[in-house]
Symmetry: C3
Subunit: 263 residues, 3 copies
């Protein structure tokens, strides 16, 4: 697969910073970007010099989610991390959901679809005052992914998750922190510094202990996460084949509302 420069990977001492770098597409994920991010994470697992990973985005979005231009080709059951269309999402999510070192998100702006649901799999998120979030699965005629059907109720609380899932309405930065999607809001010009500072405090700890602790936290929920993802993938495959939903997604794409791009 041709490598696009879709992410930037820089190591600061024991912290790997992965920056989503398709600002012109509001950092929407295509297959290349999913695979590149997964590989940056995989590299951090085997590098004993890396204790912690920071995920952030370039430009005004954290991530607008799935690149819908690729959506017709998605096969959510594909797991082969290569050129198979649709293989990127499961490669990225499998890697993030079981990632054995702490992950800090510096959420610099818009998070839509997987730009929201990936926060359910990071350890700590600092959230720019300017960020806002949306789970547009139901409006698009599909269902949540990334174990959102399990984790949104657990993290946000059942009622807040239901309101946001069933209406698809926006979640403000303050609301996101109030309901546990982020640890605190931060002024935009302070965000990356504060995230790097938190990551550095974590990275001063013994790597073996960080890793063993994160593995225990993952182990306590990974079976439930996988079962939820399997149920979601089956429902998604069933719904995305329905003509009405393809129409909804097409209409969505044709609106070309820049804040609304991506799943």
């Amino acid at each position: 697969m041709a490598e696009h420069p879709v992410i930037e990977v820089v190591d600061h001492d024991r912290v790997r910073v992965v920056t989503f770098d398709r600002p012109e597409a509001l950092n929407a994920f295509d297959d290349a970007m999913y695979h590149a991010t997964a590989r940056a994470l995989e590299g951090a697992v085997v590098d004993d010099g890396i204790a912690c990973v920071v995920l952030t985005g370039r430009g005004r979005a954290f991530s607008a989610g799935q690149d819908l231009g690729e959506m017709g080709r998605i096969d959510p059951t594909a797991t082969d991390p290569d050129d198979t269309p649709g293989s990127g999402f499961p490669h990225f999510l499998d890697t993030l959901a079981a990632f054995p070192k702490p992950v800090v998100a510096a959420v610099n702006g818009l998070g839509v679809g997987v730009g929201l649901t990936m926060l359910l799999h990071v350890d700590v998120a600092l959230i720019s005052d300017t960020a806002r979030f949306r789970a547009p699965f139901v409006p698009l005629g599909v269902v949540p992914e990334a174990a959102g059907s399990l984790l949104m109720p657990l993290v946000l609380g059942g009622q807040k998750a239901a309101e946001k899932l069933y209406t698809g309405e926006w979640i403000s930065a303050d609301e996101a922190v109030a309901c546990g999607l982020g640890l605190r809001t931060v002024a935009p010009d302070r965000l990356l510094d504060e995230a790097l500072d938190l990551a550095a405090r974590i990275a001063r700890m013994p790597v073996a202990s960080l890793r063993a602790t994160k593995e225990l936290v993952v182990a306590a929920r990974i079976d439930a996460v996988r079962a939820a993802r399997n149920r979601e993938d089956a429902a998604f495959a069933r719904l995305v084949g329905a003509p009405a939903n393809l129409e909804a997604i097409t209409a969505f794409l044709e609106k070309r509302d820049p804040d609304f791009r991506g799943l």
Copy 2:
């Protein structure tokens, strides 16, 4: 079974509004009312024109819970939705706990016993400033029902749930919202309008997607809910047979405190 006019069922476009309608009994549930509510829900499942259900109560109570006048006849293991005494509660709870479309509660007042625990199974509750709640199971000498032993700790937080379960003390409307039993408090004269507005925003979404999403949310917890209910039913059957508890319930009935009626 003779049909009592114990609930009112009205469809507004794609929203079915079910109103508990025994205001003279503070909407306490007898078998007829459980079955009638369960049937109104079942009808909404198979009607593709219904996207969302609203539950509310007439008068100053949402529901005072189980009609204790029928309590001696309760058999919590009965599941036949007919005239068998005690068959109403499991019929209602089985239907609500697995309900495959969003349910909004407009909690207009007092919620005691199942008037509280049913909120653990709705998706979103808007709560009148005038409402208050009580889980009187321990004071009555019995145990929580409706998977309350699992869901009260999960929803309210373990410590708040423990305080309220073990003392049986009242929960104010503000406290209920603070601990996740409701999304927000609403002035009484605005309650039904705001609940209908929220339901209408949900009902504009594709029904197939609402249904698939709610089914995923239910699937993530239904096994744990059923296991908890089985444990609770066994403990209830054991305790309700103890003479001291029958005395407690009888004393409770004889007080005839109108705010305290029902389990």
Copy 3:
């Protein structure tokens, strides 16, 4: 095993008050103290006159955690409640995690290590304004115990738990209450009175019903708690054998910072 007067046990009507009583060691737990506390709890189970237990500490600490002077001898897989070195911790935790009557903690001061994680297994904690908490497992080169890898995310929320576990930073009394480790803060001179008052309100309830309800709450999570503890014990045994971690613990001991004593 020689009995040290390491705890005080006093019954007030139907409430058993267990006071950790090694103030000179900031109530750090050695094997004798774990066993003595476990036995005081076991005695409260079989005594039908006891409805509720209060746990508190003498002096300025609730508990500074594991007595690290004994740590080299810990065998986390031992379960025989006798003189076997390291048998105290599992005896205490097994008893507390499955305890079939309500437990109220009156947290009078510092809670470090098990002085924090035991709060994940009590029903309600009232917290002195002067208390603060720390989970120093990662800084010490080990992993959380007492199912902390499962329960800290569930109780505190995933992001707050991650921040505190991965940095080992202090949690203030206010922060502890905000994230569900305690029900409310209380002025130090009011703490024990308010805890006893809450325990007395609980103890007025029917004991059979309190017990059956607490057993249901325990049953809903005990399998997950045991699985988490087994994973933690295996990781702990693996890590504590690593030379770097023995060095970290030794350095920690040699600092002899009184606020920092104990795991």
